[in-house]
């Protein structure tokens, strides 16, 4: 997939920054490469135009390329950090995307107050799971439905500021951001629904929509760029984060992409790609008790598009609880979650609801190698599937054994 010129500009600017700082001592290169054996469920995956919730859906067992990433950081000065994260995957089709590329200025403060400013391409601070290399989860191969969606459709191309107060035992941080190019975010939830996948899309990549039946039986493959500019409206998010001893953290975030739901841009095949006015609340908490880490997140929101005289509105929600054990080189984890969407009647698709259970066991025999076994069961119900002759109830079990090389 060829990235648009503007995206290539961002990539080149980020790499130029890293390159210019290469003479400094603090340029670091991180990378990961993932290969895995996958026993895939039979429901056709969303990556192949189906409504299957999992990344793989061919119904067979085979070796797969899980993905690879190159992350370059440059600490140009003690206060100025630059980061570029480029990743590749081949599950849908060959894709190379710019996942993040930003500069962060965070001067030292000799008072309890500290501020920082960040500009570029970066994730909104929603996920409490994805703090591993390349925005991966150290607990499971597949992130929760909430953070799968964040990895698919949410990205800031903008600026973010943070003010932090650091007390003797805890700290409080208020963060706010203004961003553009995320007006299409929300499109996938009414049309396809939630997914559970570790595919992280970057600028320059495209998401596949479910294939629709056509008169001649040839379902055209439709993909869209989730970070495409529509009218260049400015969105925002703001959050409050409390950190306390015991690796405890609670975050409340509000996100609003500010999109004009009447707006659209030409699309592949002469169709129109509409902006979706999407807003949500996200509440997350994590804490550690001895070797046990708990993570819980909940998201609730809505998205609206106004194509012509139609009024298409979807309400979405999801929540999960993850418990993980730090047993040295071994790290088992279990996650339970629920997800749903409610589409209004004019959409012709009533939405969905479902649950997922994910069990994983990660093993780090060396600092450069992580072996992860993951078993995930997803049960979902989508009434629309009955109208296409499919069962509205979809049950899928996906098993993966991943070997991830870390540099």
């Amino acid at each position: 997939m060829m990235a648009p010129a503007s995206v290539r500009g961002v990539v080149l600017a980020g790499l130029a920054f890293a390159g210019s700082a290469a003479s400094a001592q603090d340029v670091k290169i991180h990378a990961f490469l993932d290969g895995r054996l996958v026993d895939a469920p039979s429901p056709t995956s969303f990556t192949e135009g189906g409504y299957g919730k999992t990344r793989y859906g061919s119904g067979d067992t085979r070796l797969q390329f899980g993905g690879g990433g190159l992350i370059v950081t440059a600490q140009a000065t003690p206060s100025l950090l630059g980061l570029v994260d480029v990743q590749a995957q081949t599950t849908d089709h060959r894709m190379l995307g710019l996942v993040e590329s930003y500069l962060r200025y965070r001067p030292v403060s000799l008072s309890p107050w500290r501020w920082s400013l960040q500009a570029g391409v970066f994730f909104p601070p929603v996920s409490l799971e994805n703090d591993g290399i390349g925005w991966t989860s150290p607990w499971t191969i597949t992130p929760s439905a909430i953070n799968s969606w964040v990895g698919e459709e949410l990205r800031d191309v903008g600026v973010q500021g943070q003010l932090q107060w650091r007390g003797q035992s805890s700290s409080l941080a208020a963060t706010g951001a203004l961003f553009r190019r995320n007006e299409i975010a929300g499109n996938i939830l009414p049309t396809r629904g939630w997914s559970l996948s570790d595919l992280t899309y970057g600028l320059g990549e495209r998401i596949r929509l479910p294939d629709q039946p056509s008169e001649n039986g040839q379902a055209p493959t439709e993909r869209y760029d989730p970070f495409r500019r529509v009218t260049n409206q400015i969105g925002w998010h703001a959050d409050l984060t409390w950190r306390a001893p015991g690796n405890t953290r609670v975050t409340l975030l509000r996100w609003d992409n500010g999109a004009d739901p009447h707006a659209w841009v030409p699309y592949e095949g002469g169709d129109r790609l509409y902006a979706w006015r999407t807003k949500f609340w996200s509440l997350g908490a994590t804490t550690q008790s001895g070797p046990v880490t708990w993570i819980a997140q909940a998201m609730e929101g809505g998205t609206l598009a106004l194509p012509g005289t139609r009024h298409v509105q979807t309400h979405f929600r999801s929540a999960f609880v993850l418990v993980g054990w730090n047993q040295g080189a071994w790290r088992p984890a279990l996650r339970l979650e629920h997800f749903s969407t409610d589409n209004d009647s004019s959409f012709g698709d009533g939405g969905e609801h479902g649950n997922a259970v994910t069990a994983a066991l990660a093993w780090r025999p060396h600092d450069w190698l992580r072996i992860t076994y993951e078993l995930m069961r997803v049960d979902s119900y989508r009434s629309y599937l009955a109208s296409t002759g499919q069962s509205p109830s979809v049950k899928a079990t996906q098993m993966q054994v991943s070997a991830r090389l870390l540099y």
């Binding site: 600490q75 965070r106 001067p107 000799l110 290399i133 001893p245 450069w368």
Partner: protein
């Protein structure tokens, strides 16, 4: 906190009877039977005199390796100096906004800060502005003090017979928990069994360099 005091009050009865001899060993655990390293045990005789001869170390060195301060806790006396050394191949920005001492040093690989004199008593938390997970504590006190090792033990030698007040502090105490206070009776004789102190500790907040966690 109240519960901790109650627990220790019960211990003191046994401790006073067990602590004989001119050597006093205090064993600190995390409440689950595991030795607690990096706990600071301070000793004070009732009259407030110096309870034991403490070797004077004019300059203390805090190293930085694998994006970790070593040691986690350093005991100093007021008026002594500390030097921060960078043994990593990356830059560090060592700083503190403690009320006792505010300072900041940018340290290139292989370099050390100039000696910094610490006046007054108290606890100074020191961090790195580049690597937020790095933290170390300077525990500044005029009382004799020892830091527990991997075995959870802190040892005082050459003590004169008498009653001593002990305080035990750890950087991973719960907020508001001042640690343990207890009394020990030291008598002439053969070395006694260690005094056992149970603390309730929170998980270690430090995260050393790891290929999977970049920590930016």
């Amino acid at each position: 906190m109240r519960r901790a005091y109650q627990t220790l009050a019960g211990l003191v009865m046994g401790l006073a009877a067990n602590a004989y001899g001119s050597t006093l060993v205090v064993h600190v655990d995390d409440g689950h039977g595991r030795p607690a390293d990096s706990a600071v045990v301070t000793l004070q005789s009732p009259g407030g005199d110096a309870a034991a001869a403490v070797p004077a170390t004019a300059t203390h060195t805090i190293d930085q390796r694998n994006e970790t301060f070593i040691p986690y806790v350093e005991v100093m006396r007021p008026g002594e100096q500390v030097v921060f050394r960078n043994s990593d191949n990356t830059r560090h920005q060592v700083y503190s906004f403690s009320e006792l001492k505010r300072f900041e040093y940018v340290l290139r690989p292989g370099t050390s800060s100039p000696p910094l004199t610490i006046e007054g008593s108290g606890i100074i938390a020191v961090g790195c502005n580049i690597h937020d997970e790095m933290i170390t504590y300077l525990f500044v006190t005029s009382a004799p003090a020892r830091v527990t090792g991997k075995d959870g033990n802190a040892q005082f030698e050459g003590l004169a017979p008498g009653n001593y007040q002990l305080r035990v502090w750890h950087p991973q105490l719960k907020p508001g928990d001042q640690g343990a206070r207890l009394e020990a009776v030291v008598a002439e004789g053969s070395p006694a069994a260690p005094l056992n102190v149970h603390l309730t500790l929170l998980p270690d907040p430090r995260a050393s360099m790891d290929r999977e966690h970049m920590g930016y």
